[in-house]
């Protein structure tokens, strides 16, 4: 047998295993606050408390801002998320939030419309980006945290780029929501670009280049009190990010 046969052997796996691997993830008693950012963990970190807020821009209060730091680059900011009352969420989400001991708080949906229905019509989630519609290959992962945020994350593939998307909806008891990046690599360079989305929301783009990789690009913006973030894993310029933002 050779490698080809090994690969072909994968075509003969038990069908129940194949179907089970496509089931939506269900997690018990699991707090996913911050965990939907995991893919972007290398670039987006929820940073430690204790830094004094400084400048504010587009609803983001900068906690650390040192893009020129020798030996690394760092920025972090706290976002002004709206704390939506539990009553504004769908009945299903309310039941999860109000359960004394939630048994399920993580779901996967195929389409953005299904996500909107699940979250509830009184939460002003933006329509799906025209540029990204139907480009997800992972489905939309939604986690409901009883007292903090409801997080939506997915990965899109567009023009050969993997694009990670996150949206965070603040709950009544949300303390603070912080986003930032630290790159402990002196060969990297990070550039910040201020722009606006298609609907006029102020957005921050951070483009990091240098080192051995082709670089990557992140963006953050608030729209009607909800945080949206994108992370393009392989980007040497901001063109694709700007195209995406223009469709929001």
């Amino acid at each position: 047998m050779n490698r080809e046969t090994m690969w072909e052997a994968m075509e003969h796996l038990a069908p129940d295993l194949i179907e089970a691997a496509d089931q939506p993830a269900v997690t018990k008693h699991r707090r996913l606050r911050g965990k939907t950012l995991l893919i972007a963990a290398a670039a987006c970190l929820v940073l430690a408390v204790g830094v004094v807020a400084a400048d504010a821009l587009f609803g983001f209060h900068f906690l650390a801002d040192d893009l020129a730091y020798s030996g690394g680059h760092e920025y972090s900011f706290e976002a002004d998320l709206t704390r939506f009352p539990v009553e504004q969420f769908s009945e299903e989400v309310q039941n999860i939030m109000e359960a004394p001991d939630p048994v399920q708080d993580r779901f996967v949906f195929d389409t953005w419309d299904e996500v909107l229905n699940f979250i509830g019509g009184d939460i002003p989630l933006a329509p799906e980006s025209n540029a990204l519609a139907d480009a997800t290959n992972t489905g939309f992962h939604v986690s409901v945290s009883k007292d903090a945020t409801t997080n939506i994350s997915t990965m899109y593939t567009l023009d050969g780029h993997d694009i990670i998307f996150n949206a965070h909806i603040g709950g009544e008891e949300l303390d603070s929501f912080r986003v930032g990046s630290v790159f402990p690599d002196e060969n990297l360079s990070t550039q910040r670009i201020e722009t606006t989305t298609g609907s006029g929301a102020g957005a921050l783009i951070h483009l990091t280049t240098g080192g051995d990789s082709n670089g990557h690009c992140t963006s953050s913006f608030l729209r009607e009190g909800i945080f949206y973030g994108f992370f393009i894993t392989d980007a040497s310029d901001t063109a694709l990010m700007e195209e995406i933002l223009a469709s929001f």
């Binding site: 047998m1 046969t5 090994m6 194949i18 496509d22 995991l38 893919i39 992962h141 990965m155 593939t157």
Partner: protein, 180 residues
Amino acid sequence: MTSDTLINLLEQRAGQALGELDAAYGVYCRSIARNILKNEEDAEECVSDAYLAVWNAIPPARPEHFKAWLGTIVRNGALRRKRQNSAVDTLREELSEALPDRQTVVGQCEAKALGEAISAFLRSQQPDVRTAFLRRYWYADSVEAVALRLGWSVSKTKSALFRARKKLKDHLIKEELWHE
């Protein structure tokens, strides 16, 4: 719509059967095709070919595990279209790490028997590891997508897949399906 209802429609040669098939499994099929082909147009053609294959196969076929059966048709069709695709080559290379060079399988073990051995190995693994392995090597998800699905970091996912491949190699050697 359940798979049984869908199969009944196909058996009746009902006009709406393919529409219902697409409504129920279109996202699933396109996800597999896109993962492998990395091209929207090719993926769409691949899914259309799969639907035609389903139409031609049922009846007489009545697959017990319809979703996996359909997924296999899409996957095989996509792999045929993309034999030279570098993404597929990468997956093959990664998976074959379980079987280093200069190793040969004793007794001309057929792919089907090896598939059964891999299935048995996967059943012995933790559910998350099993899912990670199947998402990566059957559904052709990217490592990042596997991480997203499981709520793992990318590095943890890579590490888990590496360990799973190593364990698989040990399992196949122990089962005397492979030896150096």
